[in-house]
Amino acid sequence: MLTLVLLLLPLISSAITLLFRGSTAKYFALLSAISNLIITVLAYFVFINTDLKGEETQNIFVFNHEWISSPKINFHIAMDGISYLMVFLTNLLLPLIILSGFKREINRSHIFYSLILFMQFALLGVFVSFDGILYYLFWELALIPIYFISLNWGDKNRVSVTIKFFIYTLAGSLLMLFGFICLYWYNPTHSFDWNDLTKFQVLSTHQGLIFWLFFVAYAIKIPIIPFHTWQPNTYQSAPTQGTMLLSGIMLKMGTYSLIRWLLPIVPTAVTEWTPLAIALCVAGIVYASVIAIMQTDLKKLLAYSSIAHVGLIAAGIFAWNIQGIQGSLIQMLAHGINVIGLFYCADIIFNRTQSNNINGLGGIRLTAPKFATYFLIIILGSIALPLTNGFIGEFLLLYGLFEYNTWLAIFGGLTIILGAVYMLRMYQKVALGNSLDANMKFEDVKGTEEIVLLTICILIFAFGVFPKPTLELVEPIAQFITDKAILK
């Protein structure tokens, strides 16, 4: 029941937001997002007080009703550790994303915020669906609001970029739909239900096809190279809130789905194709990091760094051992927090200087020490310094990769060097040195800007110093997924 409340609240708020005009809309959206976060946090205490193992962890939050009788499609939503974590991530970031738009002039803001809340609804739906078709519906639904957000509130290149992004990801989704049809067809239970699909697996001869249909869909969403070319331009052109939604939450749909809808469902094919998949992921880490080094556009640099980071997450998932899965999950949370922080910093810089070109910036720290400090802390989280949230995830992911293959871990580990190279280079050009334009006085952050940045920085340390609750939360289900690898 609680899952349903969490899911429906943003939908209803989204509709109500449309009724407001002017600044009321944003306050209402914020209120809605915060209430949802509070409910989510309360749900955590229900969670930790319930001692359930493996797949049964969903039992407490299940809402399962028949929807279509033939083919059997149920409105089956629930939460286990992984789902809860992703719901938490979504609901944690949403207030920050909404708040980050408070200082900006946004045209037709009631529609804008309504779309953001609708997006929240769709994203939550993806994370809590336990029926394949329901999951697919939410997956596609999530594309609609972000399409309009990018198309209407983006920069001058928005139209062509958005259409490319939309068609590219839609093409991937179609493959996934086809994959679900195959699953239904080949599965002895003729069901879309996750519990059935994980219990009774498709014959290994059919798994290969399904694997590729799903894999390409997810690889586009995550993105894993070579399916990534839509991403840098989209991140650059979309409005900041759109980029935050995309990079902070939406790409986690892909990595989440790898764990939920790929590994336990077609384990044999995954085992067969892991060498290729993991090679793509690891190559992507180095490839994207190397490209990021010479980027001059701040948003594009962050986009490539994001490709590198999620490449590591995906690699850890494919390594398919418990630390890889746990690491990927804790890293999804960390990456979500850090990446919206980084894009918010880019947004603040752009709004004050009208420039994203890092060669034309500099000396921000002279006049905006607070902003420079927050920015640095977020960067440190992003380059995984111990005691920041990025570290535990990266440690577990690389160790997961190490258990799979030593050389891949070393190669993927280059990210800790390359990450420092491009991030510190960027920080130096943007924030340090002397200001290139002597008249430019970069105003320090205050008000809502500071609230957002401060919250993000606190979260960075909180999850870095206390990683245990998150790891414990996802442990049973990570164990369940890993057991599938052993049984394969």
Binding site: Y287, Q295, I322, P386, G413, I416, L424, R425, Q428, G433
Partner: protein, 638 residues
């Protein structure tokens, strides 16, 4: 281990890192309100930590150790990573050095940084550094050490680039961080190997399980080699040493604290801590020995031709670290730690002395433009002289005993060749140090009139730490005297419980006597010849102004190592970055993507023509298709 010990020590042990951390928080949050008192607050926290360390030193018996667990940081599978501190004689030795020298440098900084606008920020960073350094030496497992390991790297980055308006300084900071990170990857992989084979990162568990493996085991070789790569980065050895001379961009107290006395010796500490592992990996030890000696020699040669007072000291630090690694390479871990301790005294002293000189010279760092400072800076001069004597290995000063112990153990364990190289290095060290001393303090003043007018004595916050360090640099050697003096090797005995695998052989007494005799003779020759060369002639020797031959040009330009790295690593990486972006990303992958889209649209453009609205054509197509389907059915039945 021992319940009662844990009870007694848990509070002071927790306080040791906690106080500087608190200091960091308070100073960074209330720096504006605290103004100049943040300096005293920052110093106070470190002094308090020092007192706690002293309390533990006095009360914890040398042969016992205790582990204090604060909390369980995280776990996965059955691997637990607690936040826990291991307190044994090695930790206590490092604690005393870090907090002791750290406190002195904090106090010194109050005077040195007095006019800086970033005064509070400076002390918050220094406190944070001390916190991470303490985590590094106190952790009871490799991951806690790694927190400190990366944390000190961060502080080093922040402090090298402390004056962030200057982009050259920022470059130096970035370079330091990145080169350290290269080492950190090695450290990380080393941890993975240990974790994979021993299922734990706790020192105790790892060492227990490792000692079951035989000497020369491949796992241990790989793990120790990776850990050593970490040490190469942090302790500035060949090939990752180039960041340390650049790191002199930071304020001088930082150079003294981080880049001489404490952080750069972290690699030595780490290996000494893991002595059980390294003792079982003879191949790694040989590599360490070679790297150490090569670094010691190479850096000393470069040091001969440097004219920046801090650069000379920086190369000397690299060289001295090379000595420590050489000692480790022959299994003389205790000698290495002994040298860490004495080096911390005399090198901190020299750096702080140079800071005092730079302060007095209004920022001038070129020793060719100094000279004759003896009169205007008597305390600095006297203490600097002691530092010079100590580092050159003049008998009975601190450096003499530790250096001789290293030389003796190398002689006793390895070939005569390596011993000779290291001995020559000692002579070179004495030469560049006395060159530095003579050019700076003796002879005539070569600076501008303006500077001469401004020459002033330093305040007490600067001179008192100098004097204390000078005393330590003089007497520090008596912590570990060789057997021939019939004295106890205090430090060696004290460390026995934590360094159990000190496999080095000891040299014979005759050899010791010989070494001392030779030292005295050689040092005397060096002092006289450098004096004649740099002081008696009054004018600067020509060789310091112009390059006489190719070799001296090579040395002045530090063998072009930075330029070579730039050519073979940095430039290609930038090229590769552009290549990936333009050729692979835009021209290849994205082209395929766009081509797919384009083909879809163009095929639609063609196929669209079929929908002409001509009903007859539609019917015709329908019939054709039905026929084809029918034929297909018939043939498939057959």
């Amino acid at each position: 281990m021992n319940e009662t010990l844990t009870d007694i020590f848990s509070i002071p042990v927790i306080l040791i890192p906690l106080l500087p951390l608190l200091g960091f928080f308070v100073i960074s949050l209330f720096g504006k309100q605290l103004k100049k008192s943040s300096g005293w607050l920052g110093s106070f926290t470190v002094i308090a930590s020092f007192l706690c360390s002293l309390y533990i030193f006095l009360n914890l018996p040398a042969e016992s150790s205790t582990t204090i667990t604060i909390s369980n940081w995280f776990y996965f599978k059955d691997i637990f990573i607690p936040i826990a501190f291991l307190i044994d004689s090695l930790t206590v030795t490092m604690l005393l050095v870090v907090t002791g020298v750290g406190a002195l440098i904090h106090i010194y900084s109050i005077g040195y940084m007095h006019h800086d606008e970033g005064f509070s920020r400076f002390f918050s960073y220094l406190n944070l550094f001390i916190f991470f350094m303490l985590m590094l030496v106190m952790g009871s497992n490799y991951l806690i050490m790694f927190i400190g390991w990366e944390g000190v790297g961060l502080c080093s980055y922040l402090l090298i680039g402390f004056w962030f308006k200057n982009d050259a300084y920022n470059d130096a900071a970035k370079k330091a961080f990145i080169m350290n990170r290269i080492g950190d990857l090695g450290f990380l992989i080393g941890m993975f190997i240990l974790l994979f084979h021993f299922g734990s990162l706790e020192y105790q568990n790892v060492f227990e399980k490792a000692s079951l493996l035989g000497s020369g085991n491949f796992t241990l070789f790989a793990a120790t080699l990776c850990l050593f790569i970490g040490a190469i980065g942090k302790s500035a050895q060949i090939p990752l040493y180039t960041w340390l001379p650049d790191a002199m961009a930071g304020p001088t107290p930082v150079s003294a604290l981080i880049h001489a006395a404490t952080m750069v010796t972290a690699g030595v500490y780490m290996i000494a801590r893991s002595n059980i592992l390294f003792a079982l990996a003879p191949l790694t030890s040989t590599i360490i020995l070679c790297v150490g000696i090569a670094t010691a020699f190479f850096a000393a040669i470069i040091g001969l031709k440097q004219n920046d007072i801090k650069k000379v000291l920086a190369y000397s630090t690299v060289s001295q670290l090379g000595y420590m690694f050489a000692a480790i390479g022959v299994g003389a871990y205790k000698a290495a730690i002994f040298h860490v301790v004495t080096h911390a005294f005399f090198k901190a002293l020299l750096f702080l002395g140079s800071g005092s000189v730079i302060h007095a010279m209004s920022g001038e760092q070129d020793i060719r433009k100094m000279g004759g400072l003896k009169k205007s800076l008597p305390i600095t001069h006297f203490t600097f002289l002691i530092g010079t004597l100590a580092i050159s290995g003049v008998p009975f000063f601190a450096g003499f005993f530790s250096k001789d112990e290293i030389l003796a153990s190398i002689y006793a364990n390895q070939s005569l060749l390596l011993f000779t190289v290291l001995t020559i290095t000692t002579v070179i060290s004495a030469v560049y140090m006395f060159r530095l001393y003579f050019l700076t303090f003796l002879g005539d003043f070569r600076g501008t009139e303006d500077q001469k007018k401004h020459l002033h004595k330093s305040p007490a916050t600067i001179t008192v730490p100098l004097i204390i360090l000078a005393i330590l640099a003089t007497l520090g050697g008596f912590l570990g005297m060789p057997e021939i003096f019939h004295a106890k090797h205090f430090l060696g005995d004290y460390l026995s419980s934590s360094i159990t695998n000190n496999s080095a052989n000891y040299a014979s007494h005759y050899f010791e006597y010989g070494l001392i005799l030779i030292s005295i003779v050689v040092i005397t020759i060096v002092i006289f010849s450098t004096y004649r060369f740099y002081v008696s002639k009054k004018n600067l020797p020509e060789s310091d102004e112009i390059e006489l031959n190719i070799f001296s040009k090579l040395v002045s330009n530090k063998f072009y190592v930075d330029e070579i790295y730039d050519k073979i690593f940095v430039r290609p990486l930038m090229l590769l970055s552009n290549l990936f972006l333009v050729l692979v990303d835009k021209l290849f992958i994205d082209l395929i993507v766009n081509l797919t889209g384009f083909l879809t649209v163009s095929s639609a453009r063609v196929l669209r023509l079929i929908q002409s609205g001509n009903t007859g054509f539609y019917l015709f197509t329908m019939v054709i298709c039905m026929v084809v389907l029918l034929l297909f059915q018939i043939f498939s039945i057959i």
